[in-house]
């Protein structure tokens, strides 16, 4: 399913770029991320415990930062698999300055496969959107601290 959105941060574009490239911030912001280890620059192994309320699943996988064009855009690729199935996503994240604010906009695609796709199709779209939102809220929190 398609996911897209826009967030406004009160900071300079360079500052926001650094924020989004920092592994520590990514680890705190990626929903359910419990462990994140860098294998190579820009390539991370992750352990995700993603869920909503009682519905939880553990996924092991990787996150990659590709095609970085500082400070304007990069692509984020992620995939994880576990007993509930797999999740796979990719998004292009773009940064632009608007006065004192930086606009972060993202456009991407998310795939969910296996059990959840088979029995949860009516909520997957909304939940994916919600988790994308959570990622940016958590990033905004890092900015404040």
């Amino acid at each position: 399913m398609k996911i897209e959105g826009k967030y406004k941060f009160l900071a300079s574009q360079e500052h926001i770029w650094d924020l989004f490239m920092d592994q520590k911030n990514l680890e705190k912001a990626i929903p359910g991320c419990e462990k994140m280890e860098e294998r190579e620059p820009g390539k991370y192994d992750v352990l995700l415990k993603i869920g909503i309320a009682a519905i939880k699943g553990t996924y092991t996988g990787k996150v990659e930062v590709v095609d970085p064009e500082p400070p304007n855009r990069y692509r984020l690729l992620g995939e994880g698999s576990g007993s509930p199935g797999f999740v796979k996503g990719e998004a292009t994240i773009e940064f632009s300055q608007e006065g004192q604010h930086t606009i972060v906009s993202y456009q991407g695609d998310m795939q969910v496969g296996g059990l959840i796709a088979g029995i949860g199709q009516r909520m997957i779209g909304g939940i994916a959107k919600m988790m994308a939102g959570q990622f940016f809220k958590k990033m905004a929190k890092q900015l404040k601290s």
């Binding site: 698999s81 199935g85 797999f86 496969g113 296996g114 796709a117 088979g118 029995i119 199709q121 009516r122």
Partner: protein
Amino acid sequence: MPEQLKTFEHKKRNWVGKPLKRKEDLRLLTGRGTFMDDIRLPDMKHAAILRSPYPHAWIKGINVSEALNFPGVRGILTGEDVAKMSNPFPVGVPVPPKYYCCAIDKVRFVGEPVAVVVADDRYVAEDALDLITVDYEPLPVVMDIEEAMSPEAPVLHDNIGSNIYSQRFFQYGDMEKAYKEADLVVKGKFHFPKYGSTPIETYAVIASYNPFSEDFVIYNNYQGPFVNHSLVAIALGIPENKMRWIVPTDIGGGFGTKTGLYPYIALIALAAKKTGMTVKWIEDRREHLLASATATDRVTYMEAAVKKDGTILGLKDKAIDNTGGYIRAPEPGCAYRSTGNHTGGYQIRNLDREVLVVGTNKCLTAPSRGYTCQELYFSLERMIDLVASELGMDTAAIRFKNFIQTDQFPYTTPTGGIYDAGDYQKVFQMALDKIDYKKMREEQRNAREEGRLMGIGFSTVVDPSVTNIAYVTLALTPEQRAKGHPKSGSGEAVIIKMDPLGKVHVIACTNPQGQGHDTVISQIVADELGVHPDDVTVSNVVDTHDRLFSITTGSYSSRFASVVTTAVVTAARRLKDKMLKIAAHLLEANVEELEIQEGKIYVKGSPDKSMQVRHVAGTAHWNQAALPEGMDAGLYETCLYTMPTSQPPDELDRVNSSNTYGFMAEAIVVEVDPETGEVKILKWASVHDAGTILNPALLEGQVMGSCAHGLGGSLYEEWAYDENGQCITASFQDYLVPTAMEVPKIDIGHVEIPSPFTALGSKGAGESSCMSVPACIGNAIADALAPLGVIINELPLSPNKIWHLIQKAKKKG
């Protein structure tokens, strides 16, 4: 047409035709049925299947070490084992895919088995599934039927090189002439969805392997045809007599989808062989909705060459069936089962056909109820309405114009079908009368003035039953067939015996899934032998070691009513002949003078010259020396009956694909809510010619069930996949089977036009309205939405879909 077509004289009946209560019901209603899950064997272990979450991917590796060490796990079977321990299943196409019961190096649909865990119970087995890690390398998917045929599409099977499993061209009559003589050519494109049958009892297998005698014993709820016993034997690399299949008394519904069980029989058998355990596997509902079997989805292009007066001179069509990630037997039957009745109930003599069977990353198929005819008739009957619309002709009138006439039976279709008997006009007229057609058109006129969307739809279709297995060989050209071995037949076997006290026991192999076969058999035997149905017991358990069965045995293509009943009658008459011969010998009378009635055999005209049936039976068993010279002792007779109308295809690709042909007329009046797109059914008449009615109560049940089933495919049910190949209808929350609340009142009618080819004149009715309802509802909704310019060419017609069609038409207009 075979030279001497055996026809039967139909006699007067006492029991057949009565709505006798079912013998089966008492045990079913009190929980005393024997279903697969009731079978408990000593030291039985339980299996859970690991299934692919990817629609298309290489399997780079499987790690089962953690799972193997989990407490309670007895063993694990993987694709690597399956490749070593078995062969691919044979299938009747020139270049077959390598289809094993488990994925080996590649998965091709979500839900495909990847490994089997055997454990002390199912809970532990599922715990262990979570511990298996599989390294998948995902591949691009192909989900669309037409895209699958393009050279750019991802290829599912490298050894085939394309996604086309089967392709053939057929010409019958002279389509060029039809085009020349036509006043108009009407074109349409139709899309029939992928949907299935969801029996209430899912697949089940209990397998064990004896390493000393090297044979398998496998309990399962397979429904036939038992050709698949042979295929599984080939896959397992064993002779057939080393594999015993036992099907219990009770199966909770099959509807054709339990013909897709056989790969799981092989899989669990291999799990039993590898682990040395007796292994039980009960499929759960999610597994069923992912990886059991459905009918094919199909895209059809159709053109009709017609005259201004509504006569249809010829049809050209291209039909593309999708069997999913693999093609497996009995496919490509999906393309050929309806060959004989391709032209339905109409006098269309010229055809030009292109038939394709392709693969996409969807789950596999089997002969689900209505097999091929749902897809065919959706196109054909929608086409009839499109032609009527182009010509400004009434949709009922155009059907009457083209129907086969009553004096033309038995009627041979251009494709080789031999229609036994029918009166299409009578059946259709009854349906029209039931809905008060003229009044409905008046009401429609008023409704349209008020802006209400009321529609009337028909479908008038030929219902083929009793498959002639010859049709599958149409996948080969006549030249290819000439080099190989022909196939034909529709045989069914029955043993009838009378015990020393004159009670009767019938042994059949129809493995019923709830149709009530035992009841009907007892009615037939009661009529033939002058006993009471309560004196007749029936055993319908299939045991491939003990029972008389053949390639064609089983319950599928609605064959019980025609071929099984004929086998029962024939066997019963053989037994009756023997009884009369014994009585004649003992009474010192002539056989021709004797009559059986209500337990007594007597000389016609001298009723006191008689003896009890049970004394005849007693003599046959107890006093064997008193029998006529040369006569076998006891009272047993057998009949393995195959219908003589089951011949191989000829060199012009003509084949009588079925053996009896009923007829149905469906008439449905709907109103569509223009705001929500919801469809309300205002009236529904369903009229059937199933030949002689064997038991009206059972027939009513079949008609109601098939109507509900067809309603499902029209408005609710779809086996849906997203664009990434994920099955998104893997629970009943999303796969919408209509409930009692969704099924309206249906006015059912019957017309009995007996078949001369069956002993009792009966034809099949197990599939019936499944074939006609989707087309009829499609037509009704098309009629309702005609003022808005909406085109209807696909199903299911959910409110969401109808709403979008209405919005689209509004934008255009």
